[in-house]
């Protein structure tokens, strides 16, 4: 039996046995010019912006690897002729701040002892706050939330003196615990907002299903909500780690010289008015201080973007 008889439509559509039905002219995917004006503008602008941000970093890195004689030549953009790690070692272990001459290492460990507990405490409390505000609407919860958000807009400086008095009365002034407490409280508004918006974006029916299954406040939080919230925890952790690590104001106000966080110590090294300005040591010290938030971001950056997107779509 002739195939074209059983399939009249396709049979009629094919013009010849070998025939291609294509005509001369546009076909398939439309070609795009690589060097179109659009591409040049977009990539040009991106490239310029990247250069603008990377140039200072480049200067810092090369300066930190030069010896002082080479720096005095004044070519700040030239790569080091003789690479030396001496300034890094000095910044970490020997640079003097006040009476201590054990470098930034002391400040680094102080910062770790401040940041880790502050991040854990603030995230633990803020996530429960956010969960309660999102799923267990209670009388006055909206007002509570509003007050909390307003708190995020009050300048820190206004509250420093009262907090100093409160900490003194509590016997926590000058201790790491006092600073941890302050960081945890000041992180609360924005962290709670973050978690609330994320939990609001999770399907409400999941929460309802868990309630019908008999789970209570903590069981729903720990067994249903927590396992679904890794991205927002990562976002929160990055924001808090970066914020607390980079904090200078609270660090300088609420601690004593032997408990200064890294940022305060860096300032004391860089801004010391006595002796020779050791630019290479200063650069190395700055890079060391900035390394922690940078590493945290690079390690969990992908989750960060996911979490931000998840929280931003709804809520």
């Amino acid at each position: 039996m002739d195939k074209s008889l059983t399939m009249p439509i396709s049979g009629a559509a094919i013009s010849g046995p070998a025939g291609s039905r294509l005509e001369a002219g546009p076909q398939g995917k439309r070609p795009r010019k690589v060097l179109s004006s659009r591409n040049v503008i977009v990539y040009g602008a991106l490239g310029l912006a990247a250069l603008y941000y990377l140039l200072p970093l480049y200067v810092m890195v090369v300066t930190s690897l030069k010896g002082m004689p080479e720096i005095r030549l004044g070519n700040i953009f030239s790569p080091p002729m003789e690479i030396t790690f001496e300034p890094w070692v000095k910044a970490w272990a020997q640079a003097c701040t006040g009476l201590n001459c054990d470098g930034l290492s002391r400040g680094f460990w102080n910062s770790v002892r401040i940041t880790v507990p502050s991040v854990i405490v603030s995230i633990a409390i803020a996530s429960v706050n956010g969960y309660a505000l999102a799923n267990w609407r209670f009388k006055g919860s909206e007002i509570f939330f509003t007050i909390l958000i307003v708190g995020a807009f009050i300048p820190y400086q206004v509250m420093i003196y009262p907090i100093v008095i409160v900490l003194r009365e509590m016997g926590l002034y000058g201790t790491l615990y006092g600073l941890i407490l302050v960081h945890s409280i000041f992180g609360m508004p924005i962290q709670t907002l973050l978690f609330r918006n994320y939990f609001v974006s999770l399907p409400e029916e999941l929460f309802k299903a868990a309630r019908i299954d008999g789970a209570g406040f903590w069981q729903i939080y720990l067994r249903i909500m927590l396992p679904m919230s890794l991205p927002i925890f990562v976002v929160s952790m990055i924001l808090q780690t970066t914020g607390i690590w980079n904090d200078f104001l609270f660090g300088v106000v609420f601690t004593r010289p032997d408990t200064y966080p890294m940022t305060v110590q860096l300032n004391n090294i860089v801004n010391s008015v006595q002796g020779v300005k050791e630019y290479n040591v200063n650069m190395a010290a700055t890079l060391l201080t900035g390394a922690v938030p940078l590493i945290v971001y690079f390690v969990s950056g992908r989750l960060f973007v996911r979490g931000i997107a998840a929280g931003a779509v709804k809520g």
């Binding site: 029916e205 309802k208 299903a209 868990a210 019908i212 299954d213």
Partner: protein
């Protein structure tokens, strides 16, 4: 609107004078509903009519402003959802994404600290009934929509409850799966004989599944009856228009007397109302709406009796099994359902007759059935 007085021992779920408002918005108002033991009740209505709100009240997920809810003759108005003896299936499945199917099924039992072997027994039974045994080790993300909804039903099943609540369970599925699962839910009800309350906006689901349908509008139950009665004897114009696809034809006119017959007059044409089963005397001069379903208007060869009129074919819509004719007559355009094999040309003249025993008359003012 309805006050179904029933004996207390018969009802599985009893809702008494229930009201719920969000601020100044009244979603449910003085609602009474008694659902019998083992009954499949469908709450039907368009979105925003309060049907899901009512279901959430029964589940205990929303607190009523006033009124009481009884389940199995126990006042559960203030009880927690888990203590009400209900299982619920949601539109979006609401499976816990990080747990396997097995863990999803057993979560409620584990929370309630049911012994391990009892959990295994119940999970095995539920997964056997729903034929989801091969899926037990999978995560919800690895399941298709139909499988997910089956697991969601299973989660209600393992709880060994008296009452099942379904909140538009099939609305997220495609048409083919929807009709398949619809049959399965019906089979499940026949096998389990539990009370089931099922919320939907899909009239086909309502008509096919329900023992009784409660049609809701603006928080009020418009009619509570079995599907056949709802379809054939709608209590008011809203119910008549809501149920049935293509929709019922509505003709505005008035009652009149011609000889010893009562007739329906519209645009100067009169239709004999012989055979119409009226619940009150048909007084001449009353403004009324005549409702007739497309299949209750007969054309040409289908006519078995009654008064014959002549109409003109306006549009023809062949739908495979059926053929829908839009006919012009007496200043109205009405749809008529005929067999799919019978075709008409546009403009052709046809004879038509109303089957008045299946028609509905509504008062033009109150829109209530006469």
């Amino acid at each position: 609107m309805l006050n179904n007085v029933s004996t207390r021992t018969q009802s599985s779920v009893s809702i008494r004078e229930l009201s719920l408002s969000f601020g100044s918005v009244k979603v449910l108002e003085n609602l009474n509903l008694d659902i019998h033991d083992g009954e499949f009740l469908v709450l039907l209505g368009s979105s925003g009519c309060g049907k899901s709100t009512l279901l959430n009240c029964i589940a205990g997920l929303l607190e009523p402003t006033e009124g009481q809810i009884f389940i199995k003759d126990k006042n559960v108005t203030w009880e927690e959802p888990k203590d009400r003896g209900i299982g619920m299936v949601f539109q979006s499945y609401a499976l816990y994404p990080q747990m396997t199917v097995e863990k999803n099924l057993s979560f409620g039992l584990r929370v309630a600290k049911v012994p391990r072997d009892e959990i295994d027994r119940r999970v095995a039974r539920a997964s056997g009934i729903l034929q989801i045994e091969p899926l037990l080790k999978r995560k919800p993300s690895e399941l298709s929509g139909g499988q997910r909804q089956r697991v969601a039903i299973g989660r209600a099943l393992v709880r060994d409850v008296d009452v099942f609540l379904f909140d538009e369970p099939l609305s997220n599925l495609d048409a083919k799966l929807r009709s398949e699962l619809r049959v399965e839910i019906k089979r499940l009800h026949q096998a389990l004989k539990n009370t089931m309350i099922y919320v939907t906006h899909d009239q086909i689901e309502a008509l096919t599944l329900a023992d009784r349908i409660a049609i809701m509008k603006s928080g009020v139950i418009q009619q509570l009856d079995d599907p056949v009665t709802i379809y054939n004897r709608p209590r008011n114009r809203f119910v008549a228009g809501f149920i049935g696809s293509p929709s019922m034809n509505f003709l505005k006119g008035e009652l009149a007397e011609e000889g010893d017959h009562t007739v329906f007059k519209t645009n100067g044409v009169s239709f004999s109302l012989d055979g119409y089963d009226a619940s009150e005397p048909l007084k001449p001069g009353r403004q009324v709406i005549l409702g007739a379903r497309p299949e209750h208007i007969k054309v040409d060869g289908d006519i078995t009796g009654g008064e014959i009129h002549e109409a003109v074919v306006d549009i023809e819509e062949p739908m495979g099994a059926d053929n829908l004719l839009w006919l012009k007559h007496a200043g109205h355009v009405m749809s008529v359902r005929i067999g799919g094999a019978r075709r008409y040309a546009v403009g052709a003249k046809v004879r038509l007759a109303f089957d008045m025993s299946m028609a509905s008359l509504f008062d033009a003012g109150t829109e209530e059935r006469i």
